[in-house]
Every structure is written in C-alpha cells, then in structure tokens.
Point group: C2
DNA sequence: ATCCTTAAGGATATTGTATATCCGCAATGC
DNA sequence: GCATTGCGGATATACAATATCCTTAAGGAT
C-alpha cells in the first residue's frame, strides 16, 4: 500500500506555491522543472488540485497556478485526497458471504451496512486515524 | 492507496483459524472454499503468514495451517505487514534535490537522514498513527 | 514400501493500474 | 492575430497485481 508519485509532487508544489508572492502565478512548466518531474503528468495532479478548489489557475502568458486560500487553511489531507481519491485504504469485499455453508438468510445478515464485520471496522478505524493526522 | 485482496483474505483466514479446535490444522483448500477465493493465490498469502511466524503448517493428510500463538497475541498489524510488507505508505524520493537552481552543496544538505523534509515527516507520522491502530 | 495428500517455492501467463505522452480546445495577455 | 497557458480526452508504455501451473519434499495411511 503505497502513495504514488503524483501525491508527493502535489504536496511539494503546494509548498512552493505557499511561498509565492501574492497575486503571482506559477506555470506547470516551472513547477515541473523545479522538481524534475514530467510536465504533462504533473499537470494531471495540478488539475486535480484545481478541481478540488485547493489551487486556482489562470490562462495565457504569466498564467499558471496559485493557492486558492491561505496555506494554513490547506491540510495535507486536502491535497492527498484531491490527488489520490477518497476511497478508504481498506475495502471490505464481504468474502464471509462466500462461505458455501451459509444459508441465503445467513448471507444476507452478514456484513450489512448496519453491522459491518469486525475486521472491516478495525481497518476503517486505522484509516480514519491516518486521515486525522493529515 | 489501497490494500489488496490477499490482505483481506489473510485477516479472515486468521479469524477462522482463531476459532479452530486446538491441535487441528486447516488446509488451504478449505480456507479457499470457505472464502470463495482462488486456492493457489491464497496459498501465497498463507505462506507469507507462515514465514512471518504468525501461522504454522504441517504436511500430509489432515495437514494445513493453524495459528502459531494465541489469537490475542496476533495483531492486525502483524498480518498486514506480513502480507503487504513493511514499507511505509509514503516514500520520500527527495524531489526537492532535483531543483536545478541548487548548488551541489545545497543539494547535499536537503532531506538528509538527520533532517528529512517536513512533508515526509508529516506523512510518516500519519503512517505510524495508522499502524498504531492495527 | 507405496501412494495420496499437503505446504513450499519457482516460473510463467494474464490482467489491471500507474505512468507518461500527445493532441485539440478555449481562454488570456500582448 | 499570435504565442502562451490550463483543461480534458485519447492513447501508448511500463510495471505491478492477479492467477495458474509445476516440481519438490514431507507427513500420514494402508
């Protein structure tokens, strides 16, 4: 279970943008050169940040990106979730229901929304603890 | 960032083995049938658990797996790390060092073991919080 | 002793996702 | 008008996850 390159890039880009002079924009090319990462691919991560409302952009010469709000109002979680998505790190596929010994009625009562299995609960708690730290 | 099928299987297998009569073994085939997952692939996860000393195995008829110690001495983290590995969820690739504006001396002083960059520190703290919950 | 069963581990095929690039479009500033 | 830039779609490539197969060695039953 590992976070991808784009997440690291997005975090560092935000750090750079946080130090940018007010009103200025920084284009993708500069951010890419600055970090030594592929410009076109980094662009995807920046677009995700843009759609999440973390950064805002302007077109044309002297265009680029800047933070959409004060740095202290942007959390690591904001950036990570914008790029990586919001799906929890553990997905319960209800494999307990595959037990061939169970009757259909028993299957239906397993891992319902009201009472997820204990394993999923623990994994989800840990996932929440992780996100709370970001 | 998502945990894979084998991790979920391993957790459920340990749960099943925890309810096994003392001294008994449960073969891979039964665990696979019970959970409706491919036997050969599940076998790899069980081998990982075995190598980690979480379960122990016996060959021959009536062979299979059982827990190597009491269930309350096996944590979720033990199982997850045995199957998924121990590499942290965030890996710092030191992209700050790629900055073409930096002198070689400055590059060397960035993201050293003694003083990793602030971003990596936060991500590692979150990773630790996640593992502490497991 | 022989045969069946089982885990262990290597090799390999298949699938899927991450990575990376390219192109056309629309908007901005000169 | 023109160069620049972000945006989104489409597509190619690389790599990891998934899944299966096969051989080996060991335990148990007859």
């Amino acid at each position: 279970m590992q976070l991808r390159g784009p997440v690291e890039w997005a975090l560092h880009c935000c750090a750079v943008l946080a130090g940018l002079a007010p009103g200025r924009y920084l284009p993708t090319r500069d951010l890419a050169d600055f970090h030594g990462v592929p410009k076109e691919y980094l662009s995807k991560a920046l677009q995700a940040l843009s759609q999440a409302g973390i950064v805002e952009s302007t077109l044309g010469p002297s265009g680029g990106y800047r933070l959409a709000r004060a740095p202290d109002r942007i959390t690591f979680l904001d950036v990570v979730e914008a790029v990586e998505g919001r799906t929890p790190s553990f997905v319960c596929t209800n494999i307990r229901r595959n037990n061939p010994c169970l009757s259909p009625a028993e299957v239906k009562s397993l891992c319902t929304d009201a009472k997820p299995c204990a394993i999923a609960r623990v994994m989800w708690d840990a996932d929440r603890a992780w996100r709370d730290k970001l």
